[in-house]
Structure formats: C-alpha cells, structure tokens
C-alpha cells in the first residue's frame, strides 16, 4: 500500500510546528541563521533541515497575501533521483509506505547529479557527501504513527494517510476552497506522494512548487521524461 501527504496550504498559518517537529524527531541540529529581512528561516532546505515553511508576500489582484508553503520531499511515485542513482542500496522506495528513502550509501553517488535530477529541488548534500531529505518519518509510519510534521499540525494543513484517501480529501477540499480561491489547484497529484493544494498560482509560493525543468541537468532529461509534465495538464485532472 502506498501512503501520501496532502498539504492544504490554504490552512497553513506558518506556526512552523512541522518544521520543528521534524528536527525534533530526527534529532537534527539547528543551523546558525541571521534575519535576512524575512520571517523565513533557515533560508533554504539543507542537510539538517528537511522541512521548511516558505513564506512570501504577494499582492494578488490588488490584495496583499502572505503565502505559506511547507516545503518537503514529494516522495515521487517514480522518483527521478532514484532513477538517476540506479542504486537501491542508496535510494529506494519503501514497499510498505512509498517513502523514498536515502541511505548512508548516498555518499557513493554523484551528489550533483541527484540534486539536479530532482524537479522540486529537495535533496541536500552533507559535509561528507551524504544526501539527506525528508524520510516520511518512515520509522513512525511503519509503527503506525503519523509523520511528526502531520501529527503536530493544528489546522489540518498537513494530512497523511492512504493515497486514495488523500486524493479524495484533496478533491473535496479543492471543491470547497475554490469558492474562496477560484484559482486553487492541486499540484502534480499523479506523480507525487506529497500532494499540495495552493490557492493561487504555484510559482507565487515557491519556484519549485511544481515540477520544474529549472533544476534539471540536460543530460538527465531522458531519465526524467516521464516525470516532467507542465503542471497545468496535471492540475486539470483534479478540478
């Protein structure tokens, strides 16, 4: 059976409980940061930060919006990173949950290749060359618990469960949310296990909110062909 996240950004208040719960469960160290003129910190995902609430101020149709996007690995159904690695001892998909798992053996891979392969710009390299990213709290999920970031979420922005249930939830929430946000859409639902819903154009939230060629290396395109589709086609399947 395959699990999926459904992340309803319209409900996110950027309390960042998910960002900390992730660090807490994984015992990840804090990064040294500085205020760069924004609440968002750290600046980006990193080897020590698997989950990051991205925050952007946008004026949309004359109205100020503060857009929150809790970014994390999409756990692709057919992960380009896994394809590129071609090494199941380094990157594999958990049979029981669908989590795309990076092991210590990622140290043996060409990190730049893997990072380039990701259409969502997720994997990050550590000092010793190991790659890291969200592991879907696979240990929790295997033991019947929700991922830390989902359990901690107060508003229902973070959801997790059987893939079919999450797709159904996404569909019903989309119908509801469209009343308030007519441009709302589901992002790349056919390709990923981390399914986002946004209220506005996804690029207003984050340049890699939807699968993007921006991070693809040209040499990797063949391997990624089946992954890369313009989001509008995918989104149209759920409306």
């Amino acid at each position: 059976m395959s699990k999926s996240f459904f992340i309803d950004t319209t409900l996110c208040t950027a309390c960042r409980g998910c960002q900390v719960a992730c660090k807490q469960w994984h015992a990840l160290p804090a990064e040294e940061t500085e205020n760069r003129g924004t609440y968002q910190n750290p600046a980006d995902l990193s080897f020590d930060t698997y989950k990051l609430v991205r925050m952007r101020e946008q004026v949309i149709d004359g109205k100020l919006r503060w857009l929150f996007f809790p970014d994390q690995c999409r756990h692709c159904l057919e992960g380009p990173c896994q394809d590129v690695a071609g090494e199941p001892s380094a990157i594999y998909t958990s049979e029981s949950t669908g989590a795309v798992i990076y092991t210590a053996n990622t140290r043996q891979l060409d990190a730049a290749e893997i990072i380039e392969a990701c259409p969502y710009n997720i994997p990050r390299k550590g000092a010793d060359g190991t790659l890291a990213k969200c592991d879907m709290c696979n240990d929790r999920v295997e033991n019947g618990l929700q991922p830390a970031c989902v359990k901690v979420c107060p508003t229902g922005a973070m959801n997790f469960g059987e893939r079919d249930d999450m797709l159904a939830l996404a569909q019903s929430r989309l119908t509801e949310v469209k009343k308030k946000f007519p441009k709302a859409m589901i992002l790349d639902p056919d390709d990923v296990r981390t399914i986002y819903m946004v209220g506005f154009e996804p690029n207003l939230y984050h340049e890699s909110a939807v699968a993007s060629a921006a991070h693809f290396g040209i040499t990797r395109q063949a391997a990624l062909r089946r992954m890369f589709r313009p989001f509008r086609n995918i989104a149209s399947q759920l409306s």
């Binding site: 469960w25 015992a27 001892s89 029981s96 295997e142 033991n143 019947g144 901690v152 107060p154 469960g161």
Partner: protein
C-alpha cells in the same frame, strides 16, 4: 494515568518488521538513522501541559527508563481534547527546553561589587536569603501608617512572579509573601 492512543493510522500489515522486509541484504537505514524500533518504545510516558501560552495543549513526555532517565521525546497528546496531538513550534521543541546544556543546575551567588557568579549550596543560599529577608523586613516594618492606621507591612521588599508557577506553587508563594507583610506583590498579569 493511562494514555489511550487513538492516533494510530491504519496500515495493512504494519508491524515493527519495517525495513527488514526488503530482504536485499544491505543496510537500508536512512541517513542519521534512529533504531528501526521507535525510540520511544520502552520509555516512560507521562502527560503534561505545555508551559508556554495559555491554550493549555496536552503533550506526552517520553522519559528514558535507562541511564540518566532523561527526556527522549515530547510530542502532542492525541487524547487531549483541545489540541488533539498538535503543537506549535515552541511546543514541538519542548525536548530542547528540558534537555538543555544552558540550564543552571546549582544555586549561584553574586557578591556585592563582584564581577562573577559563584556556585553555592542550596542550604547556604536559602539560609542567607532568609537572613536578608528578616533584616530588610525588620528594619523597615510599618505597624502603622502616617494616619496611625494599623497596616502591619513592609514596603522595603518587593516580589514579582510568576505565571510560570503551578497553581499550588502560586498559592503557597503568595501566602508566604503576604505573611511576611509584603504589599509589592506583582507578576506577569500586570504587564
């Protein structure tokens, strides 16, 4: 206290087997792996209420039964009817509040005109404080005010704090301060 878990999500065939089932014959531990078994599995569980804002969210504290008996995990209490397992970023970091190397773990004393703290014993600190309280109180005790009315107080000692105390602690704290004759008793609610 019994914690009744309702947070379990249904997983077909979910067992602790986890990673072993892949059977590929090599180490599949995720980067920075924890044991495949949940780190909280054999821990003592107690419920608590978050010490920050006054929503009063419930959390579960996992304390190691081994070694130094410290906290290994704190997360939301799914059976708490207010927060239902959720927490904010501060609540989610509660482990780091508790297991924090910056915590002061012995009484300290700063002497007049000194530029440093000195570690002292509880017995010494509390005895010395008692003597200071008595000296300041007795030297500045007012039985009557300027109008000649009985007031039985001292305005030479003040105390502020604390909304961080438990109810029971608040009660004995204020009874002690009032018995000493303090009127300058204030705390967070005033600011």
């Amino acid at each position: 206290m019994k914690v009744n878990r309702r947070e379990f999500i249904q997983i077909t065939g979910a067992t602790a087997a986890g990673f072993a089932v892949t059977g590929l014959g090599f180490d599949l531990s995720p980067v920075k792996a924890h044991a495949q078994m949940l780190k909280t599995k054999y821990a003592k569980e107690t419920t608590t209420i978050c010490p920050y804002c006054a929503v009063g969210c419930g959390a579960i504290v996992h304390t190691s039964k081994k070694g130094d008996g410290r906290v290994i995990n704190i997360e939301g209490d799914p059976d708490h009817v207010i927060n239902r397992g959720s927490l904010c970023s501060k609540g989610a970091a509660l482990t780091q509040l508790t297991e924090n190397s910056d915590r002061i773990t012995d009484p300290m004393y700063r002497a007049p005109y000194s530029s440093e703290w000195k570690k002292v014993s509880w017995d010494w600190a509390l005895t010395e404080i008692s003597k200071r309280v008595k000296a300041s109180r007795d030297a500045n005790f007012e039985s009557k005010n300027a109008k000649g009315q009985v007031v039985n107080r001292t305005t030479a000692i003040a105390s502020v704090g604390s909304a961080a105390l438990d109810n029971e602690e608040c009660w004995i704290y204020q009874s002690l301060m009032r018995a000493l004759g303090l009127v300058y008793i204030e705390h967070q609610a005033r600011i």
